[in-house]
């Protein structure tokens, strides 16, 4: 029964969610089910918070090499939570001040570091070793050049008027073609593949063939 009950529940809920899409009178039950899912997802946040506290407090207690980072994370978490709970999160609060002046610049800085690493990685790894790599390299350079204003700017300042009369924004047009034709075709294929895979997995879960969500190896 311990195994059958979740399988039966999963089957009934799965079948109902498919059927309700075509049968409007089921709207009331559908709304209730959606409410349940939303309620169930809230404890996930609590579980996440609990495991975060557990992980960092363990590191602090055991004085591991990462203890200073854990201490900062732990203190920051408590200070942010307390300032939000006591003073609120709206305009002019301590929470908002810390969010705007500490969290925003820190997260933005972390993400902006990507530009430096991408430049370095491109310099080291982007080589025209094979035909495929050359095609990728040429495409990347064309899109990089055309998706910023300097592509058209250079084109319009280098090309003679006769060429410009034919095509005034050729780099932009070429990048547009790459994105709208070959790149889109590949992406569409990927989306179709993922969708078919998701449908197949969903059917397997509903029918009880795929049971890994109940526990590893069972």
């Amino acid at each position: 029964m311990k195994l059958r009950l979740p399988l039966i529940l999963c089957f009934l809920c799965g079948i109902f969610m498919i059927v309700q899409f075509f049968v409007p009178p089921f709207t009331g039950v559908y709304d209730k089910l959606l409410n349940w899912v939303m309620i169930i997802s809230i404890p996930a946040l609590v579980i996440g918070l609990t495991s975060l506290i557990k992980l960092h407090s363990n590191r602090i207690i055991r004085k591991t090499p990462n203890m200073p980072y854990s201490t900062v994370a732990f203190v920051a978490m408590i200070v942010m939570a307390l300032s939000g709970l006591i003073g609120g999160t709206g305009q002019g609060t301590w929470f908002e001040w810390m969010f705007k002046n500490i969290q925003v610049p820190m997260q933005a800085t972390m993400f902006s570091l990507l530009a430096f690493y991408i430049a370095s990685a491109a310099y080291r790894a982007f080589r025209a070793r094979t035909l495929e790599a050359t095609l990728m390299l040429v495409t990347a350079v064309l899109v990089m050049l055309a998706r910023v204003p300097i592509g058209d700017f250079l084109w319009q300042h280098v090309m003679p008027d006769s060429v410009l009369q034919w095509k005034a924004n050729l780099p932009e047009d070429v990048a547009g073609w790459i994105l709208n034709v070959p790149s889109m075709a590949a992406r569409r294929g990927i989306i179709l593949g993922i969708s078919l895979g998701a449908i197949a997995t969903s059917i397997k879960i509903i029918l009880g063939i795929e049971r890994s969500y109940m526990g590893a190896g069972e």
């Binding site: 899409f21 809230i42 999160t89 610049p105 997260q107 993400f111 050049l145 204003p149 300097i150």
Partner: protein, 277 residues
Amino acid sequence: MSFWEKIGSFDRRYIFALIALTVIVPLLIPIGMPITTTNEVKSVYDYIDALPPGSAILVALDYDPAALAELYPMSIAMLKHAYTKKIKVIGMTLWITGASLGDVVMREAAQGIAEQDKDYAYLGFVPSGAVAIMRMGQDISAVFNVDYSGKSISQIPVMKGIKNYKDISLVVDLAAGSTPEAWIAYAGTPHHVPIAIGVTAVSAVGYYPYLNAKQIIGLIGGMKGAAEYEKLIQARGRASVGMDSQSMTHIAIILLIIIANVSYFVIRRKNKKEIES
């Protein structure tokens, strides 16, 4: 070690310094690159521009501070456009780290042109992503019974007469993740509400199939898309200023790739000759 061998094993700190310079110098000494508008951005602008005053749009600010550089300018430009057209704006987020950011963005865009609760409402964060989108299709108040500040949404004037997607003229998802796919699948397709999206440049490529299939009315991609929107509303903002830096950085990366490849081929040729001799 030959010149090209030295070039091939260039210390990456010089590359970092070069990129830093190409970002900082154009910000200090702007070049003012001309910005051309693309159809995918113009269609979002045109759609909002054609909405009659009093229409309502739902703006999902599904991003966190990491994507601020790209998504903040487009959020401000698009919201300012809606506010000046007297369109009701309902803001929300599916990202927990975007809850406070959404509040800040909505207020900053509204400065001097719109009033909270009267012209716009910010409902804050809701967990469970796709399920919340599905539930809002029946009743928005079932998902958000209070706004971000804790006020009951039945007490907010701008929310009067707005029950579900049937009362919304457009859903705009400004996203750093994959939430646009959920908005398209669970709001756009079943409820026939038009969807427009604004995403980071790196993920914009992934949404062209949806644009081509007319599942979204338009696409604002990265800082370039934001700069285009700023040009359309004739307000030079952060994205337009950043275009000079982005242009110079792209040129620097392209030059680096060319130099690295020349170095690679020279060294390969030299090695081949040595083996043959």
